[in-house]
Symmetry: C2
Subunit: 325 residues, 2 copies
Amino acid sequence: MVRIGIMGYGNLARGVESAIGRNSDMTLKAVFTRRNPETVSIATEGVPVLKSEEAVNYKDEIDVMILCGGSANDLGEQTPYFAQYFNVVDSFDTHAKILQHYDETQRAAEDNGNLAAISCGWDPGLFSINRIYAESALPGGTTYTFWGKGLSQGHSDAIRRIEGVADARQYTIPVEEALDRIRAGETPELTTREKHTRECYVVAEEGADTEAIRNAIVNMPNYFDEYDTTVHFISQEELDRNHRSTAHGGFVLHSGATAPEYSNVIEYSLKLDSNPYFTGSVLVAAARAVYRMRNEGRTGCITMADIAPSYLIETDSRSLLETMI
Amino acid sequence: MVRIGIMGYGNLARGVESAIGRNSDMTLKAVFTRRNPETVSIATEGVPVLKSEEAVNYKDEIDVMILCGGSANDLGEQTPYFAQYFNVVDSFDTHAKILQHYDETQRAAEDNGNLAAISCGWDPGLFSINRIYAESALPGGTTYTFWGKGLSQGHSDAIRRIEGVADARQYTIPVEEALDRIRAGETPELTTREKHTRECYVVAEEGADTEAIRNAIVNMPNYFDEYDTTVHFISQEELDRNHRSTAHGGFVLHSGATAPEYSNVIEYSLKLDSNPYFTGSVLVAAARAVYRMRNEGRTGCITMADIAPSYLIETDSRSLLETMI
């Protein structure tokens, strides 16, 4: 049994916890939180919830610590810190900072003989390795990544900061026409606008100027100005009733030639009812790989690109040869 | 530079040769053939074509030998044999015999300190690892594999053995309705007939009984009797003109839950203008991984499930972190 610790208990951690129950070689040893542990109730019976400061005392009882904090505020510090004491897995997803995060985690893990897998999940994660497999099979090809339909937390937060907005949800939607062109073998240079549209559901405060809000949204630099954006004003009740879903998904397409006369298209897609639960499930598979690779002597920092697929799956190697290869 | 040898020079080898030219860290050292080398003309200038018996003399000049024979008659013997002398890559695709092929190759490679990657390509190969990734991310889910639209060599051969048939091509076609049900989140138990249809283009010999041929095809056990099969009689000229394509492709879909209320669908698909050229390109990526892993001390037999994605791609690890993770 691989003994798992969970650091931080939000939606992602709930996904990890659920996934542990779906993998018969995994067991949850403890959940750690920065909140008062008595206020945190978890789904698994008989597993302690403890203060995050206590984690280091459980060093010898936990094979892999899954870090369930956010990339914006938590993981940049947490991952290198806990990699001093544990084998760790995180879902660090700020693409522009992954190299720095890698270097900091590599040093901490390597110096202490631990193994850390960073940026696991689906993007980065399964999408990353699909970009790599596709470019390996069709070198010099063109890769496209599309996200959605799904809620963007960052864009929803940006709308909520506008004056007069009580609440908001923003969906990122891939442009079907662009997908179809690539599927047909074209390799268009697509602008931001041609790849995704943005759909916003906004609750205005009483008496707020909705036209001003709409303008503030659609013209917001970086977040919305380069997109075709639709804004719907709805009631808080409707938002709570119809826009609680954490469904998400996306596409990685790669188009490339194997000879001047032969073009090829590789497509990978995900359709997820719950983004955090799926990400959590991938983190658990990554934790299995970390456990196995550490047992083989590997230390330092890795990503899913450094993990052979057979390390991720519970099925043993000979059964794989008989049933899945 | 990774120095590649090619054993056997048919369509797959031409694909390998073309792929070597598309990877700047790969170079072709020699092509070996069972035919008279003087009758074999290859695309790359300045590379020798030699008798297959001479290969062992090139042991120290070739880093990885890519075996381009067929699974039915060649690779079962060739791969264990050449794994005694070389690091090798093959595309062995008789699923039912992969375990045996693995054991025989493992022994030969291990005893001689070589590394062999078997069953590389797309199925087995990229499809295998997608089945593994999907089941790792969504354990206990349901996996479906569909092939086509594409030519089936085995089924075409079976038709050509029928009395009165001068020539034939058989296409395997996935049933779009079945794909759509799985994409929508259903996990149906599909019969053979519900997954694929078979379309046959047949040239009858002069005076042959076409109705008898049609009956012999559609009722042929294992090959056709469990499928909805369409038979078209055409002229040799039309067959030669319109049915020379080696286009192929297929789909791996996996449907699974992360909680009772959350279902998810993962889809991977390939659309290939040339089956042998794409397979050849994957073999070259696998050869790179074999070269790198052997340099790290790995010996014995592996499949693509044992290869971390980063070993397959020419791009170095730090650039991957910056651009593709």
